[in-house]
C-alpha cells in the first residue's frame, strides 16, 4: 500500500493506492492512468469518462500537469518523505532577481539606511522595467551586482539587515 500527498495550490489531497483499490481523501474512487505515448501524454479513465492529461516531472517532487487548457503544478510527497521536508523560506532581507534580466540601475550602496518598500534596484527583462523593493527596513550590508550586469533568476542582488 502506498500513500501520496498531493498539493495543488493551497489544497492538499491524500491518495491511497492499494492494488486496484484507490482512495482520494479517504473516499474510494475508480481510475486508471494509461500512457498514450512516451512524451508524457496520458489518459485517466474513470468509468466511461476519459480525461486527457500531459504529465511531466519537474525538479524534485513537482509535476507539471496540463489538463483542459490549464497548467497545474502539483507537489507530490510520499508518506515517508513528508515529515522530513520543510519548505525553505526566503530570507526577508534579501532582494533576489525574480526573473533573469539586466540591472538598469542600482540605487543603494553598502551602508545605506533604507525604508521598507524603498526601490533599491531596477531590473529590465523582456522590454519591461521592474522596480525591486526591499521588504524590510534596515541597513544595506551587501550589493553583489552593478548596473549593466546580467542577473540570473533567483540570484541575490542586495542584502538588507
Amino acid at each position: 500500500m502506498s500513500l501520496y500527498y498531493i498539493t495543488i495550490g493551497k489544497n492538499e489531497y491524500n491518495v491511497h493506492l492499494d492494488g486496484r483499490h484507490l482512495k482520494v481523501n479517504g473516499k474510494p474512487v475508480s481510475g486508471d492512468l494509461r500512457p498514450i505515448n512516451e512524451l508524457g501524454l496520458h489518459v485517466l479513465q474513470r468509468g466511461k469518462k476519459s480525461m486527457e492529461l500531459h504529465l511531466n516531472s519537474l525538479d524534485g517532487d513537482h509535476l507539471e500537469i496540463l489538463v483542459g487548457g490549464q497548467r497545474v503544478l502539483a507537489k507530490v510527497k510520499t508518506s515517508q518523505k513528508r515529515v522530513r521536508h520543510q519548505a525553505a523560506r526566503a530570507e526577508v532581507g534579501t532582494i533576489t532577481a525574480p526573473m533573469p534580466g539586466v540591472l538598469v540601475s542600482v540605487l543603494a550602496k553598502v551602508g545605506d539606511v533604507v525604508e521598507q518598500d524603498q526601490t533599491l534596484a531596477v531590473l529590465e527583462s523582456m522590454k519591461m522595467q521592474m522596480q525591486l523593493r526591499t521588504a524590510s527596513a534596515g541597513t544595506v550590508v551587501s550589493v553583489l551586482y552593478q548596473a549593466g550586469e546580467q542577473v540570473e533568476k533567483g540570484k541575490e542582488i542586495i542584502r538588507v539587515n
Binding site: N25, L55, I65, P98
Partner: protein
Amino acid sequence: MENVKKVLVANRGEIALRVLRACRELGIPTVAVYTDSDQLALHLRYADEAVLIGDRSSYLDAEKIIAAAKKTNASLIHPGYGFLSENSAFCKAVEEHGMIFIGPRWETLALLGDKLASRQAALAAGLPVLAGSDQPLPQELPVEMAYQVSYPVLVKASVGGCGRGIRLAKSAEELPQVIEAARQEALAAFGNDSVFLESMVQQARHIEVQIIGDGQGKVVCLGERECSIQRRHQKLIEESPAPCLPESIRASMCQAAQKLGSSLKYRGLGAVEFLLDKQNNFHFIEVNPRIQVEHPVTEMVTGLDLVKEQLMIALGHPLELAQGQVEIRGAAIEARVLAEDTARDFLPSTGPISYLREPGGPGIRVDSALYPGIEITVDYDPLLAKIIAWGENRHSAIQRLLRALDEFQMGGICSNLEFLKQLITSAKFVEGDVDTTYLEKVKLPPAHQDVELEKAVALAAALFTHQQREVQVLPQDENTNTWLQTAWSEQM
C-alpha cells in the same frame, strides 16, 4: 523566371512567419535574417535563405539588414512590426539602395513618427484631435505651466510608439517627476527625449481604423478594431467590428481615417488610432504606419489577406479593391498569449516549451512561431501566439475563442491563458462595455477552482509517480536477487 523579386523579412517570431507564408503562397522567394539568440528560431528555417546578422539587437541594425539584402539579391524588404518598421531613415536607406520598402514612403514615416507633426496633419485634414500642446515641452518646465494644465494629463514622447514613453500625471506636484520619467524612457527606447502634453480622456475606448492606400491618393477603409483591453499600454484583446458602436460613429471614423490617408497619399497599410469618449466623440491620436499585430481580426471579417495586399502594392500593382467591395462579415476576436506568470505580477516566464499543442477547428486561426522544445528567452518580447476566433456574431466568436484557449496545451513555461479565459468571460467584456482602464478596475473572479478536477489531477499525479517509481525499482530488483542479498548480508 529572371524577374522574380525576392523579399527579405527584417523581423522574427510570428510576424516573420506570417509574411513568409504570404510570400510562399505567391511564389515569391524569401530571405530571413536572424541573430545569435535566434539560431533555433522557426522563421529562418521557413525561408528559402537565411542570413545571420549579429547579436540579439541586430534586428534594429539598418546597415546589417541592408547588407543582408544586398548579399542575397533581395529587392524588397518587409519590416513587419516593431524593430525598424516605422523608421524613416531605414526606409530611406532601403530606397537609396535601389530596393523597395514594403510600407509607406519614408517621408510619410518621418511625419507620422513625430506625434506633434501627425497631430498637425490630422488637424489639417479636418480630424478632431485632443486638447494639448502643439510644441514639445521645454527642458526647464516653467513652474506656472504645471498649474495651467487640467489633470490628469498624459506626458507623451514625441517620437516612438508601442505605449512606451507615455506617462500619466495626476497633479501639478508630480508633473515634473513624471516628465522626467517619460523623457528617460523615451531616450532609452527611441534616442529622443522630446515630450509633449495631451489631455487624458477618462474611460475612453481605443478604436483604430484599418486603411490601405495605393500611394496615389486612393485609400480604402477596411473597418475598425476595438483595442481597449490593454495592460501597461500593451494590447491584449482586439476585435472587429468594435462592439456597441453606433453605425453613424463607425462611418464617421472611417471617413476621417480615409481623409487623412488621402491627404498623405498614403501607401500600404496603416492603422489610424482614435480615442472614443463616453459621449461617443472620437479624437485622433496617431497613425501606426505598418502591419499591426492585430491585423488578423480584420482579415477574418473582410476575407482579405492584408500581407498579400501589401506585397502587391509594393510590387507596383494597382490597388484593385474598391470601397464598395469591402464587406464586414461576422465578428473576430484575437487574444495574445504571452509568456508571463499572471500569479506573480505578470513577470516574464522563460525556458523551453516542453509540450505543445495548438488549438484548431472551425473559425480558429493561430499565428505563432512556436514548436515543441523552443526556448523562450528574455531577449525579445513575450508574445507566444495569437489566437484569433471568427464567428457569425460576437457571441459565437467569444465561444470559439474560449474553446480554443481551453484546447491550447503548453508545458514548461507559464502563460496568461487562464487570465485570458477569465477576461473574455467577464460580464462587462461579454456586454462589450469596456474602456482602456478595464484591466485596472475589473475584479476578475478568483482563478476557477474546480475541486473535482483537482481530485482527478491528484489521483493522476499519484498514479503517475507510483508508475514512475515502479519503473525505476524494477531493474534493481533483478540485481538484488536472494543469492546476492545473502552474500551481502554475510559479508557484514
